[in-house]
Symmetry: D3
Subunit: 278 residues, 6 copies
């Protein structure tokens, strides 16, 4: 995990506020305060594990003396019935933390698994998969991390770390050329400039404006191929816009360098991992 | 929208912190500060709208003088190409707020749409659909609201508003009967007691312990039918545990009163709604 | 204590912000940084202890190496001069944390003591005492917990965990019957419906509408008795509205099931517990 | 109101988080979204009004278009049945905000009323009443304000705005004289030094050490009188320690300048003010 | 101002919490609640204005009805006695907000002015000035904005928006080449890779590893010149490390593209701007 | 350090949010997760150390198992090349925390050093140096602490802990005398009253109004001398208003008791302290 504790603890605290509110009226009234239980996290389906440190930290925040044995780490491929971790701690803490821990673990593993499926689909090509800014509010850092765990790479994290020139920006200044030039003399030297194009002519203009990256927005496969030729290595080429599982390899084989996919963060199926307390 | 502004503004602010961080280096450098644009929110696929007030409020937080025309409201069925709302405001605000507004709108509409599909599947039966606590951290209030917009109902919001007795609780006290009795004399009079059962015998014991609700956990259809008979109207019957689209009607026809589904919040496909600025 | 640390630490931090602001200009300038002292928490009057874990955690937040010996626990009856806990830690931490620790401990013990007095007053009857939503802003979770420590039970925690139909709601829909029916088909199955009534006729209507709970609002004793008869066990009966110490038993003997009292949270006398440092 | 909006809005938001959590399941399901109602705030008992601006702002946060007519202002003496304010706004907002508004208004008015009773009790003497740091966590700014509204004055707000030398500080340095001297050459020139004394000898030493304020801790009336003589106007004299209503005048007549009372903030009866919606 | 209100309001609220805490005991006690005053912001020395919108928003948060006339905008060169803005509003609000408004305005203008001095010093060369991550905690967004207002550009905002390979990273992997290659195949395509070098050999290796940017760390002028030659346009060249006013032009004339200076944010003199209320 | 951990952790967390945002894309990709390194904090110039505990805590928040050896403490005079502290911990934590730790340490040491220079300049006189409220937003507690570490004292922390009557207040009430009298009968007994004067006549009036402190605002040296005579020990005398290094001794020799200087907090040069990781 490369996210500092103080950052992800904030996410967990928010989840606690939603889920405890006032009390766990079942557990507080039925489970003795000092009863100890064991629990295992177990995969109920195949996938890529992500978030196990956060999930375990969730439990630790409720029982600082919890004993933890970690068997799988982020990035590991899980098969159904794999044991991911074993813990021993206060039954109350386990029962109260279970849902929050699993909600985080299943979502992050879901992102990693979806990403990995896309990565596998284009295996053997030179392209790589990235995410987008289409993330769930409050969870971007966790989701972007999960994408890397699944073998993808991160597109820009936010509006402040790369320039992305879209049609509205172009309209405001008059041309792709003007937009790239205007922005280049204002942003810092660590910033790359990406231009979104819809036609081969726009691609040509972006190349001559010396864009670092050219994004082919919603192009068909044959058009993509031509765009890659037109650009001829003068810029990194990104394919984007509703590219779905099943056609990823075909897209990759057009010669684009990057395929960015919103669905690996905005339309994720939770990976089924259970926490069995006994 | 029944969620007070001060509550959902906190979600939006968190999203802004993730997405602006320091600046929108593209827009701030290319778009004149006082330029005005129009924008439309348009459905790109069929579904149930949810979150339009929040999405528009997102833009208003960036441009308090924005002019808004709302054409569809939460709960409306959208068809592809339907215009949802029109706005006129500072181009900078529209470009900066677009992603946050859409991330919220698409996710909430995704939840409402998924819920509605389940609701439609059991139309004609007496059962209803509810959510679970399997929500994405930080978004529970919005997701629970979206479930109601989609025609579903809310299961308990948190650990403090209903008793849910699971096997761990039963083991700690010795029996379903003991668990229900212990908890009944401790919780307030506004609280219902739900017991999770796995066999007909457990269902019988829950009935005689006067549980308000009995949850049939991961039962097969024929077993559910028998459980409904055994319970005989003495408690509300909830079917739960990996119940998927396609078999909902069959489940509903067993006579259960409630079907709770985690997937309508934890595994949601964003509904494709665009925001076109021009 | 059933409230997770991360939740009550937030209350303590807020108190620290109010009380330290910038420095403890007396202690920082007079007490050597590493001086160690002992301290005892001692009851100065009889009552029910509540909040000792939070009070001690307050000190621990200022001196993580503090040594703590706990002699009394939440719910214990205190007599004047009882020692509640002994601590040994940095003198500076003890002096800085004293006021915050005591403010929390005295208030929570005050709530528990007031609740317990009410509980004792109705001993021998079948009724029980509950709190209301008349709590001090920012302290509801702690106060609701203290009520249970004092032997009372919790009424609904918030507007989201039970339906409470008041005259304004009835007026909006036309009748008690309409109100109950409308709300029943919208809220989840874990939610009970309470109706506030002022007359016997309203009580009758609430019964026939199948309200789960009927609240007798500001009724006189003889009227309460009649209402209990009218309801005849068909719903839980709650007496509410300015019911004061001294008449609680009489109210309980009318046969109501629940007496809810705002004063046990909104008008509480701090229980006098001192912290002597030496 | 002298507290800036951004400060007290934080208190209100915290109260909203406790009270709404997810939804107002009664009001959201029964009251039409755009229904408008009138409401009046009315005194149900005599007392001093405090917090009306905050209470009304609470409603405004839920309905920005609310129309407000203020009839009484903070500090006004209320008689039973006095109308304090009238509002017209969305019924939903009124119903949702009612409890939070009243919880704040009743507590602040309770503090002002309790303070005022103490102030009246010593009318005709030269002493004045102050509060202490025995305030409810999270509410100090509001309670300290309410004390001034009730005619009292504020003792130090926090550990950083005045020196208060207690026995622990004296023990650490050896003597009152040493303590006062040590602290005087370290704190800023805007800070007064108060010394807590238990005997006449300590009072004498505090005078010769040039303490600005001398607090007579838990002294009997005759001893107080002697202490006042001993001090002879060389320092401000504060009486403190469990001084209760009924003996305040006697205490004031000993010649002390200040009587500080914890009970006006830590043991306050809510002032009964209702909000009637119709 | 390109920073959204909700982001900079958080900074202002934090300042209010520090400066009001409980009350403005001077103003609240002496100035009538509804008294209106005028005020002007006036430059007391020459410099570059920055932060006027934030300063004025500070006052508006205390008096929403304040009337504002803005005469100078961010980036304008100020001469002593220039009027920057005129406001008319509640005297209390002006007095309470003055210090916070000025603390922000003077610091931000100080950053812009220091930056501008550096920018002017290298006028006529092709180099530009950037900031660093040496910013004051909690103020980075405001300081980075002020740098652009002063004519500088922003270096990376945070650890997440550009790769900066230092000796520790190189040591961990074995060589500059290995470090650049390892990181290139992991970070996204929008990220540039900068390598810090201390010798010409390292510069050569960075070039052949295809670093996007090469930072010459603490090099002497003649060495810088040689490094620029060695690099020969194959990468952007950044000079860094204690480069002070007075030698900036000489540094720029070595042919480096970028000079990054920590002092324009970490060692800033407040620009003297007053707020006169009358 | 007299500031409680929970208070300064909030500052550090804010800095982390600015500096990590999402990831340290260099370190996370190049440094093995469990690699351990040593680091030293070393003075690169002479000055007064301040903030070492906070700087080290910053690293501990990223690696709770870090081993720390502290060689210098707050207030120690540093000479160039002095080792301040040695640490051993995870390389990743050291690299990620370095900038935040140094930004805090260098700024706080800068404040302490600037203060100390002023203190030394007036050595041998009876005057002392204080800060003002001209602090950087969000950092007041740390800066005020650093002033004391440098040998200065704190002026009032906020608007709530001392009265400061300025011309606007005087104008509102009519005269210095009226202002002092009005405020004296409203503020608490722990509060001193300071009056800002510009002429000898005003100083005379402030004396006869029994102000506790008289601030000579922007007076010339000879006028200050006369003011000190006029006041004749009847009040503490503070010199204020653009008093710069170089004339401090002359000012002190006029007989004023206090010299308050904004520049020691608002215009501070970071003290150059490095953190070398190896």
């Amino acid at each position: 995990m490369n996210i500092p504790i103080s950052i992800y603890e904030a996410v967990i605290k928010r989840a606690f506020e939603e889920d405890f509110c006032f009390a766990d009226i079942t557990t507080d009234n039925l489970i003795p305060e000092n009863q100890i239980s064991n629990a295992v996290f177990m995969a109920k389906q195949d996938g890529v594990l992500c978030g196990i440190e956060i999930a375990l930290h969730t439990l630790k925040m409720l029982d600082p003396d919890i004993v933890i044995e970690v068997l799988k780490k982020d990035g590991d491929k899980l098969e159904q019935s794999d044991i991911v971790a074993r813990v021993q701690g206060k039954t109350r803490a386990l029962l109260k933390g279970e849902r929050t821990a699993l909600n985080l673990l299943q979502h992050m593993s879901g992102v990693a698994t979806a990403t990995n499926a896309a990565v596998c689909e284009i295996a053997g090509t030179d392209a790589f998969i990235t995410d987008t800014r289409k993330t769930l509010p409050g969870l971007r850092a966790l989701e972007k991390y999960a994408v890397t765990v699944g073998g993808g790479r991160n597109h820009r994290f936010s509006l402040s770390d790369a320039v992305m020139i879209k049609d509205n920006h172009i309209d405001a200044v008059g041309s792709i050329t003007a937009a790239v030039e205007n922005v280049r003399c204002r942003v810092g030297h660590t910033v790359k400039i990406e231009v979104e194009v819809r036609t081969l002519d726009e691609a040509r203009e972006a190349v001559s404006a010396k864009a670092d990256i050219i994004m082919l927005d919603n192009m068909k496969i044959p058009e993509m191929k031509k765009a890659v030729e037109v650009i001829g290595g003068a810029a990194i080429v990104e394919a984007s816009g509703g590219i779905k599982a099943g056609i990823l390899k075909e897209v990759a084989q057009t010669g684009v360098n990057v395929i960015s996919i919103g669905a690996i963060t905005h339309s994720v199926k939770a990976l089924d991992i259970s926490m069995k307390i006994f």
